[in-house]
Symmetry: C2
Subunit: 452 residues, 2 copies
């Protein structure tokens, strides 16, 4: 088995790039998997990258391009002429081609589509209609479909023909259709291998499949693949006509993409920025999230100003603002992330809203009792039973309030068809910082005014 160490190859390649030794570079690259070439291209400098990509034959270049992150893809295509781009698109599978074309500047798209065979450009146009986050956006049009009364032998002949013409690459299932292109079943390749030549597809096909329509959210499709351990699924329209297929490699990418997106929302950092993008672009991309935190906490400063009298009465009240803020923020974040993740994986649905809120409240009740007690003891020893009482009541209210908000906001977003991950920090943590300070200082002010 060949083992590829990118670090080793990279050094050799950089030496050859310096020498502009195109022949030797092509010899090395041609033996590598497109994913490895893509990784090498991501790791060299910008001008070396353009040179390296330009020496790849169109077939390899198209496979490599499909593996690159969008910012790099755009960078490279800016340097290529319309002719070279067309040659690359022509070599791609329909789903990769559609993704790639949709990333190109609008003004050159018609020109590209004119230069490739009409059949291919029609397929791409068809796929471009679908939103990229839907089943239609990840499906491909290359598949093997046969009528019910076709025999196993005929099916094998058809796969052989399509493979020879490079119309399909990996085949795991054959789709069985009726005269009007309605999907009636699927045959796994392993069942095809095991059946006798004269068996008809009707006899060995499976018919109990979940239905995937092109408008389904890609995350929902991924959950279906995960639930039923699928490797490939047909996509049908509302009238059950077969229109495409989705394979597991696209689903793996979806899972990775959605995972990164959710993490990015929670962190308040935009995704897709790990490899590329200019510094000022990245800084600007992170700014909105920081702005939410900044404006929220500025509001907190003005609120604190309103409690000037209370704080002057006892400066120690200010010392505990970080404790109150952090406990509220942490509790809300715990509750919200559990809910967001549950909604994403399908383990949690809107009908669980009531029980989920109750559960979060029970959990936060126990933890708030614990921290109220510990805080009481510490502040009692440090200062007084009076101030300890104020703080322990405050932290109790703040923690329980934060748990409800943390669980409720993503569920509400989901109900309003907004991505629940948007409800994550910094939105939730900033809201809780402000509420925490308000609750704490209101309780303190009321108690001091009435109690002393």
């Amino acid at each position: 088995m060949k083992q590829i160490d990118i670090d080793d190859i990279l050094k050799d390649i950089e030496v050859l790039i310096d020498k502009r030794n195109t022949g030797a570079l092509q010899n090395i690259l041609i033996d590598l998997h497109p994913a490895d070439i893509a990784q090498i291209i991501s790791h060299v400098k910008k001008d070396e990258r353009i040179y390296l990509f330009s020496i790849l034959p169109p077939k390899v270049a198209s496979s490599v391009l499909a593996e690159l992150d969008p910012p790099l893809m755009e960078e490279l295509t800016e340097e290529l002429g319309v002719e070279k781009i067309s040659a690359i698109v022509d070599e791609m599978d329909s789903d990769d081609a559609a993704d790639f074309v949709s990333s190109l500047p609008d003004e050159i798209v018609p020109e590209i589509l004119e230069r490739i065979p009409e059949e291919d450009s029609d397929e791409i146009k068809q796929l471009l209609h679908y939103d990229e986050d839907t089943a239609g956006g990840i499906m491909a049009l290359e598949y093997v479909a046969l009528p019910m009364d076709a025999t196993v032998e005929q099916a094998i002949q058809e796969i052989r023909r399509l493979k020879a013409e490079q119309e399909v690459t990996d085949v795991y299932y054959i789709y069985v259709i009726d005269d009007e292109n309605h999907l009636v079943g699927v045959v796994a390749l392993s069942d095809l291998v095991l059946a006798e030549d004269y068996t008809t597809l009707k006899e060995i096909m499976k018919t109990d499949l979940p239905k995937i329509t092109p408008d389904m959210d890609q995350e929902e499709v991924a959950n279906i693949f995960r639930k039923y351990d699928l490797v490939s699924m047909p996509v049908v329209d509302q009238e059950n006509h077969l229109i495409g297929r989705i394979t597991i490699d696209d689903i793996v990418d979806v899972l990775e993409e959605e995972g990164s997106e959710d993490m990015a929302f929670i962190a308040g950092a935009p995704d897709e920025e790990i490899t590329e993008g200019s510094i000022s672009k990245l800084a600007r991309a992170r700014l909105p999230w920081l702005m939410v935190a900044f404006l929220g906490e500025l509001l907190a400063a003005f609120i604190l100003n309103q409690f000037d009298v209370t704080l002057r009465h006892k400066l120690m009240i200010a010392f505990f603002i970080p404790v109150i803020m952090a406990m509220g923020g942490s509790t809300a974040q715990q509750a919200s992330v559990i809910v967001i993740r549950g909604l994403a994986t399908g383990d949690l649905s809107l009908r669980d809203t009531g029980p989920r809120l109750l559960k979060e409240l029970k959990i936060s009740f126990l933890n708030s009792l614990f921290f109220a007690t510990v805080l009481f003891i510490i502040v009692y020893l440090w200062d007084s039973a009076f101030f300890a009482g104020i703080l322990s009541v405050s932290i109790f209210v703040v923690i329980n309030n934060a748990a409800i908000i943390g669980a409720l906001v993503p569920l509400t977003f989901k109900r309003l068809n907004i991505d629940p991950a948007l409800a994550a920090a910094p939105f939730i943590s900033t809201t809780n910082d402000i509420l925490g300070i308000l609750i704490y200082l209101t309780i303190t002010t009321v108690v001091i005014n009435f109690g002393m």
Copy 2:
């Protein structure tokens, strides 16, 4: 195509459970996919769950059990006798059986292993040696392996035999071995179908495969599957002996699991808690993360106490503590999550440490300049140019410091072989809260002492 709506079925099932109509329930359940039965079992009450599970035939029960979340799995097996558990284990694939047995109480494991055929129990014992987060932990021992000189016809016969004996289920690849069980290549089922009967495997096998050893981290294995669009891979030992295989459905579970785990770390909430677990258990599980935040902010309170004189000098200084804390915390979280995610997906590696830190610093430099300017204007209008100057210098230092810490800590954890996700909030945000307060109040104190 049959479309399953769990909500509809659930209502019918609950009525039948009330009537304890075992026959009718079995009729409904037997037609469903094990994943759907698992979903139904997760949604009914505890005693109904045990009853529902008990009426499933062992073969179905074993498939359902493999689909359940660990807490539910444990709950159900507590109610089953050793005999029933043994019957279920006997029906499972080796990888599911090993996962299940490892979740059982230690004292009953030997008894279970004695009751199943020796061949199966030997396989399970073998798999139990591997850490559950490694390639060995997710691999199965059911695969099709044949010598190089076997023909396509012989290969098809062998698959047919193993399928008939239920030794294998889904077959995508045949592994080709030499006389000493060394892996020499793989043949995709689709290539097998297309080859002539008398072709030998040697002629059609692929040999350039990434090498997967049983001690590899499951996340690393998942990245290899994702990179090369694989559906199944052989696992070999150091001497290249074939010892197992990993399929894409396990990889999809790994991606989901690692995604949830990382999200959970970032939120400071333990994973696996969405469906089940008692309230006190869940509350206790979340406590350590809250404890970190609590103790950290308590330290912040003591630090604030040290700056008592400064704060008394100008109470307004205290109003801006939330702004300073939140900007440091948000910046650190953005930097850390981008790094953690990059390390998880393999887009970022340790050799990128230097460039990554520099990049984070450049990004934070631009954003800190922006916020320092905005804060200066606001505080100048609200109070004085003097205090505005102090605040804008403080926020500039705090933001840049937070960016370095946010990026450096997960990279350092990775270098020390600690899961970088552990470096996430609340660890990073608490550290930054304390540092932010220290930086802010130190700058303020120094300037006030020297400047006024």
